[in-house]
Symmetry: C2
Subunit: 355 residues, 2 copies
């Protein structure tokens, strides 16, 4: 069974915006060989650090279960594999659902604005406290890919190789629009109270968002699959409605609204060009093997944004980056659900790394 | 100035589900030559009958202003042009916001379930009471295209020609999924009270939906356009947020939740194959010139669904139907906003009709 681990950081985290977050903690999972080179895995924006259940003894599957294990892509025989919950998230790491040591009350709406650079710098601090001097390979999907891309741009000597799945060099404006629409929707709840909700007051708003996510983060092909062989419109509606509702209330009970907004706004901030003359200058810092994977039906991170990263890096370092497009009926969620295709691409990449 | 007209129907409307709607009324607009052949225009699901302001004296533009006028596609010199508000909508025709003559209270949540066939049959009844014996040309977009497609399948001798914009032979399951997600979202409002809301209680939910619609019914290309030349992520966020919020509260004040749900569920019911052996049999009833127009970026009605209609008809009547795909950054809303491209396609079609 995978152990849920926590680490208290050795110092405050000071956001790039200048706010001190005191006594921060990070939740993480660790798999594999503690003495091996380090692989870091980073989760999506509304997900958590449970990347894999190596022993299959846990009840909940990990998001990249198909890729982690003995002799697998992320080889537990050889590597020390760390999966860290993001700053501001709701799954153990310091965020809106934690106590602010200054006030001894929940941070809630008062948790500071954090950017994707903060995600990267915080992760660097956590890894340092876990004794990691260098990351052999960092891989992440969606928000997690943005985190490690920032980590590599900020600390290129710290990261040996990168795999970015469902990604972009700066937050896509289409994704930003969707994030803002759902943030605004949650805030329009009559129980929102400027973020000072208690108990179950805004569950309904998160439940609604969970259902709309199931449309936005997937693709219409999925609904064609779900209704295959069903010919009556009412029966199609029933099947689709069941899909939308399944787990959405449970989702709301485990996904705090302030934390979700914190993460979505962090995603919106993402832009590796920020602080440099140009995107090209940011790309020039990435002199390391990079695999970029896009999903053909992903509306949040359309493939052209992945291609831009690979092209931008190859302009400086020919053949350093590869861009692969995998095919899925799942849209954005293909970054989790297309395990076999991810495995194929990552296995080739890994063979190059090992050689 | 275009006159807002109302007609009291000469008899009850009995839904295909068997419910009598007593003393129904229909709101409509009329343009052009009262003695000319009849053109019928049908609006989208959350829109209204204000298709055009022929004299440009009205404050609100019509959705197909670019196509209606003297010597225009829908030529006001030659034709009697009627644009009728759909059954169950909130813009004058009998629906949830109207008084039920039996109870002398608002229909509200008790307005009966109506299907897209009901939309077509009700429209036929309205046109009959307006003295229309045959429609020379029916054109509609989105829900309106579904209405007239049903009208033509049910009463092929009544319709001379069809133009269907952003359309499908049966409601797309991707669109159905989105409709259900937003219906569920509205119903999750703590003020929903099973549809028995009063005053402004559910404005927040419709406002939220209006903002999410602006993502779903458009395309990410639009947000790239909106943020063109803006390089800071916070400024991009501000520009996008402004776009999402603009008009969304006003939209909520004019769009009743029960009426929206009534229309969306009617769209979900759409399937011209219902009641026939097959879709092919339904297509075989459409022995009339048909122009089908899809928008390349439309996520609600992807072009393949439009092509299916044209191919299905041409299988019976070679070259009877043409499928055109127009290009837009606006996604589904291209069916309103790409006036010039619509005009080009419809002008060619019209020349064939007139010849």
């Amino acid at each position: 069974m995978v152990e849920k681990k926590m680490i208290a950081l050795s110092s405050s985290y000071i956001t790039r915006g200048g706010v001190e977050i005191k006594k921060p903690v990070a939740a993480y999972e660790e798999y594999g060989n503690p003495a091996g080179p380090v692989i870091v895995l980073c989760h999506g924006g509304l997900s958590n650090q449970h990347a894999a259940d190596v022993t299959l003894a846990d009840s909940a599957p990990g998001w990249w279960d198909q890729l982690v294990g003995p002799d697998n892509v992320f080889d537990t025989n050889k590597f020390r594999i760390l999966s860290v919950n993001a700053l501001g998230s709701m799954f153990g790491t310091t965020g809106p659902t934690c106590i602010n040591p200054d006030t001894e009350k929940l941070y809630g709406k008062d948790f500071p604005y954090v950017t994707m650079e903060d995600h990267a710098c915080f992760l660097k601090q956590v890894l340092g406290d876990l004794g990691v001097e260098r990351v052999y390979w960092a891989a992440g999907l969606s928000m997690g890919s943005l985190t490690i891309l920032n980590l590599a741009v900020l600390f290129p000597e710290f990261v040996g190789a990168l795999t970015l799945v469902a990604t972009a060099a700066y937050m896509t404006v289409g994704g930003m629009a969707y994030h803002n629409a759902i943030i605004n929707s949650i805030k329009l709840s009559p129980n929102w109270n400027n973020g000072d909700y208690t108990g179950d007051e805004v569950l309904h708003a998160v439940n609604a968002m969970a259902q709309i996510n199931k449309v936005y983060f997937t693709h219409y092909s999925l609904f064609e699959k779900i209704t295959e062989g069903i010919h009556g419109q009412l029966e199609r509606e029933t099947a689709i409605d069941k899909y939308l509702r399944t787990g959405s209330e449970a989702y709301a009970r485990t996904h705090d609204a302030n934390s979700m907004i914190t993460c979505l706004r962090a995603c919106n901030s993402h832009n590796i060009a920020a602080g440099y003359h140009s995107l090209a200058e940011a790309f020039s810092r990435l002199n390391m093997p990079i695999l970029v994977i896009s999903v053909d039906t992903d509306g949040e991170f359309p493939p052209k944004y992945g291609r831009e990263i690979a092209d931008g890096i190859n302009a400086h370092y020919p053949d350093m980056a590869r861009h692969a497009i995998i095919s899925s009926i799942h849209g954005h969620l293909g970054c989790v659900l297309e395990g076999e295709q991810l495995k194929t691409e990552m296995t080739s990449f890994k063979m190059k790394l090992d050689s």
